[in-house]
Amino acid sequence: MSGTRVLVVDDEPHILRALQTSLRAAGYEVEAAGSAQEALAKAAARPPDAVILDLVLPDGSGTDVCRELRRWSTAPIVVLSVVGDEPEKVAALDAGADDYVTKPFGIDELLARLRAGLRRAVTPTGPILEIGELTLDLEKRALAVSGRSVSLTPTEFELLRFLAQNEGKLLTHPMILRAVWGPAYDRESHYLHVYVSQLRRKIEPDPARPRYLLTEAGAGYRLVVPQQS
């Protein structure tokens, strides 16, 4: 953990201070920036391993910063958004942000997103994906839930495969639609909603309380290893 450098960008001094304190306490090296210009300058001077980025900055939007960073950096970016600013959040995700948390957020939630982003940056995946009790065999195109084989339609399998290969990562509706249905369908999110509901009936112990396939309101879906409750 030590030596992992995080660039935190927010124009609210109080939020910046709270984040710096918590991130340092969690063992990260922290660099702070209060504007888009400062963020890009600091990132260029010392490339960060991860970025926490507020969407609303005095001299531009976080989305633009995302786009600029993505021209040369693959470091995970977690954006901070506010309720009611869903379009900007989705734009940032499309511009290359990996994840988001909504203000006011809990620090545990932010740290979890940051860890997941950093972990994904290094982990390759093999032909058999194990996520909690789900075992997905990409070669045999087979799914087992708690060791019991479950049959999936071709579309359900493709959807689950794409989600599983990006485990823990927030995938926007257009990303999933493009990957599973094809580029012509990136606006047909209703197919996605229906297939997600059907898939949940096959993989979730309680489809009304999904623990694997989570909905991120206004943004997309995420397949995760269920937390022990």
Partner: protein
Amino acid sequence: MTGLVFALRPVAPVLSLGVLYVFAVLPVAVLFGLAYALPVSVASMLAFNWFFLPPRHTFALRDSENWVALAVYLITASVASELAARGRRRAAEAEQREHEASLLADVAARLLSSGDVQSQLPHIAARAAAALRIERGRIELDSVRRPEPHESAHPSVAGDRHVGTLFLEAGAVPDPGVSRRLLPALASVLAVAHDREQLARKALDAEALRRSDAIKTAILRAVSHDLRSPLTAIRAAGEGLQSTALDLTPEDRRSLLDTIRLEAERLDRLVGKLLDLSRLEAGAAHPLPRLWAVDDLLARALDDLGASGERISVALPPEPPLVRVDADQIERALVNLLENAVKFSPPDELVDVEVEDTGAEIAVRVSDRGPGVSAGDLERIFEPFARAPAGEVRAGSGLGLAIARGFVQGNGGRLSVELRQEGGATFVLALPAARLPTATGVR
């Protein structure tokens, strides 16, 4: 007439009997005017001459009597026809004025009975055009636009005020007398109706403003308390942690920190609700409808509820029931309903959620085992700041159900409450059922 003169010939001198021809001329003059009376006068003179004046059966005019007779007929014809024509003109004028008066009365009545002047304009224009003997016309209030090539414009002026413009077909010449009398009167009536409508609208705006002001005051009063209590707790806990005068055990510190976190979360929820409400009040909560499975919306709502969501049992139908709604708004509505149900249920009782597909509607039924709702309050509880009766108040802003109903109705659905026989209440959130568009080329 000739026969009558023939019959009376024995009792009177023929010449004086020529007067009887006046009876032929007179009615023609009265009924049909001078143009017809003139030939009849000449014909009468000729008939008198032919049949009765010597030499008979010739048109020879020997005596001056003939000329006298002709002059009498002609004078009678012209005087009678002129008098009759005057009478007719007066009658026509009276009829025309009566027509105009009834037109104005009708227009005034229509304008007064209908609140909307604009919707009456085509009818009024048609009647005015008919009175002006023009085929078509249209009235535009406040309009000063130039007439199109196919129109002619007639400004409608009441006093020195421009009320609007009457557009007639180009080339149509309105009856000058009628337009002189009718148009100013019409303009006055329109001006009055127009003013009346604007006053009514201003009064309505003022009333809406007053109401929204009253609502805002009520909101401020209600929430200032709700905002202050978590703030007070946070401040007290924060100062307690900082204080050097207090000797806190690690347990105390953890408890104070918990207070800060929980109260901040409560504050966050309240601010979220106020935002929802202000958006609904401002009419700014335009739904962005998309096709969703109700399970997904319920799952999101349950996730938002966190730990209290564990006291809810959900029964889903085998196939995902689809609705076309704004997911964020319906999720808010569901969260508020579920929160409410959990809050009013005894801690050891589950809240039951059932999703029903009736074909036309998808109904989410949220049943609690709380105190229920008294029959008179079935509607009132959906008003802002309606809270449970005193003594049963549990923390709540009184906004949740009002917001839920606002969002549900905004998405074409309905939200109502039913009493349960076994105690408690069932909130029914019904949304129009949607179907997946026929898949073309989609796997």
